[in-house]
Symmetry: none
Subunit: 201 residues, 4 copies
DNA sequence: AATGAATGAGGTTTCATTCAT
DNA sequence: GATGAATGAAACCTCATTCAT
């Protein structure tokens, strides 16, 4: 694929992210995407097989970026706690940089039937496996408790982050000013690491 | 509404839960629901305004049950930790008793465009507010750390549970036998309460 | 299927025959059919699975009528020559009574890809098999020459009729007044029976 | 037109014949033709005006070959019976040499809406006129019966051949091995000439 | 001449909803 | 209440053709 095509393809994906984020996948029409992208309707089908394919391409490419980031974190950092902190930080930052993309990733992608295909799950789970590995490493180093399954830990970590971002995105009662994302991130990290039980002196 | 009608209405809701769980909301046709319920599809419109209304009725009624349960917990129990434990336990049990309903509640409802109406959010948030209250109560009693926002705590709690159940429901690699739900629940409670950091002696 | 439905279904089929005959199958749009029939185009899909199904239903039902006629001829008449004459006569009359239907049957049906399915060929060939049987019967009775395969004879018979009708339908140079169908039919029968070679005295 | 271009044009026509024969005209896409020809699909439009034009070019050029053959037969042979035999023979041989082309000529061309233009009919009918002429010549020479219209005779001749070849091409029940084309041709000639009625001694 | 990215009109089909019975 | 035939808007996708390179 030439560089020029890659650009046009990216224009379409970017437009799709915007449109999906605004109206939701099912309420978005393909013509909305082409209008937003400023390309002919038929062009969508040069670059993608179908509307489904556009959505899943967004998932695959963005999730891969997350995996790349995690991999880089694995190579650069050594302390497990720092790794997890950095990953959570990255996810929150991603939301701040591109809330539309995050909406699509959190809301539209997982509800799509074709998301539940083996290939997509391999990719999706790769992220959870990395979290597990980091957690297991922490256990081996003696910094994380041993009686917790790394699997469940990875769900608790991602779930806390995912649900919090969902509130920022959708909760009409939620006021970002009152409760800055920055602070939310810190407290989630704290809850995950220390729990919320007060320790006996 | 007569008792008989209530029954037929419930038959339709039950059928809708089954169908939505199997195919997802958007892939489910009204005729699928009526077939499953064994009624004419025109009948759906005696009991519900629209297909949307069926989904949101499921949400409203089931979420209300959850709220009733939480209220009862508030009345019966006193220890905040025990309350949270019992709520988490109830959610996990609900999944075990009626996985189809939980699928719909976790995947279809919050990802439906119409879900994001003020009334629905009031109801949805009522649950989070209860969690907040319990957490705040714990802080006042000195059993929960004070430097964590009850709001964020409620998200961490629900997010960990929600994401874990989603894995049980959807992850094709997940093996329930290897990792019983019971154990997952215990570990989530532990993580939330104690965190996963090993404490210095 | 109720009598009323049968009627509406027939209205649609009749309209489809008219539209297909005028514009050809591929140039006909489903909306043309529904307009012609005076029904909503969604209704087409109550009675037929697809546009293809409409065309093939025309074939199946009309071809079945031909088979019924042939069967009746088999039961009523005894002389093979008379049988073949009556069949040819019936086909020519069918064209006169409903030229549109004949156009569809001769031109649109055999060009349609799905026509070449096993079920359709069984039906199609049933007619040729009947012709073969009649011919074989004629051979056994000693009225038809024995050194001709009944199979090929059936093709020669139908081919002569089919091609002649195609000329009446399409040939712009063809003038029905100059050469009445009646006469064409007689001469075809004569050619098939006696051949066109002058016999030595 | 340069010799080289003529070659490329022929490559495209040959590819189109193959593709049309395999999938039928309407199911064939221009890209299928260009792929088969090994050229860019834009190139089709250097040599032909449209997809229709490709099909009709096939007709015009191949039908012209048939006319040339008939003309040559007219010049070379003298006996009408021999002429007709040779024409039938040529058509059957054409099918054997290039079944794909014959499929297109028999099924796609005459069933294409655009085929029914005055120019095409002039060309198409020229063949039937030649058959008529030969037949009329036979009548004048006293070898063919006088009470048969040469026009209808030409339809009977071509129809018998056309329908028989269609069976060889499409009938899934037809077994070429059991009934060789050679034999079919002989019997068709016999039927046309002598009819299938047994003569009284 | 040759290419193939780009175009966008056009058509089939789906399916939630209505309403006469 | 119950039914399901009828409706028709809406949406995806195809694919012949164009045209800048």
């Amino acid at each position: 694929m030439s560089e020029k095509n890659k650009t046009k393809r990216d224009i379409i994906l970017k437009a799709a992210i915007k449109v999906f984020a605004e109206k939701g996948y099912h309420s978005s029409r393909t013509i909305d995407i082409s209008n937003e992208a400023g390309v002919a309707y038929g062009s969508l089908y040069h670059y993608f097989q179908s509307k489904d394919d556009i959505l899943l391409s967004i998932f695959r490419e963005r999730w891969q970026l997350l995996l790349n980031k995690v991999e880089k974190i694995q190579e650069t950092l050594t302390e497990p706690g720092e790794k997890i902190l950095t990953i959570i930080d990255y996810i929150f930052r991603s939301y701040q940089n591109n809330p539309a993309m995050m909406k699509v990733l959190i809301m539209d992608v997982p509800r799509h039937a074709q998301f539940y295909s083996p290939e997509n799950w391999v990719l999706y789970n790769a992220f959870f496996k990395e979290l597990e590995n980091i957690f297991r490493e922490g256990q081996e180093r003696g910094v994380y408790v041993k009686n917790v399954s790394p699997l469940i830990a990875s769900y608790a970590i991602y779930g806390a982050v995912d649900t919090t971002i969902r509130q920022y995105v959708y909760n009409p009662e939620f006021n970002d000013n009152e409760f800055p994302l920055e602070k939310a991130r810190e407290q989630i990290v704290q809850i995950l690491k220390e729990g919320f039980s007060e320790r006996a002196a």
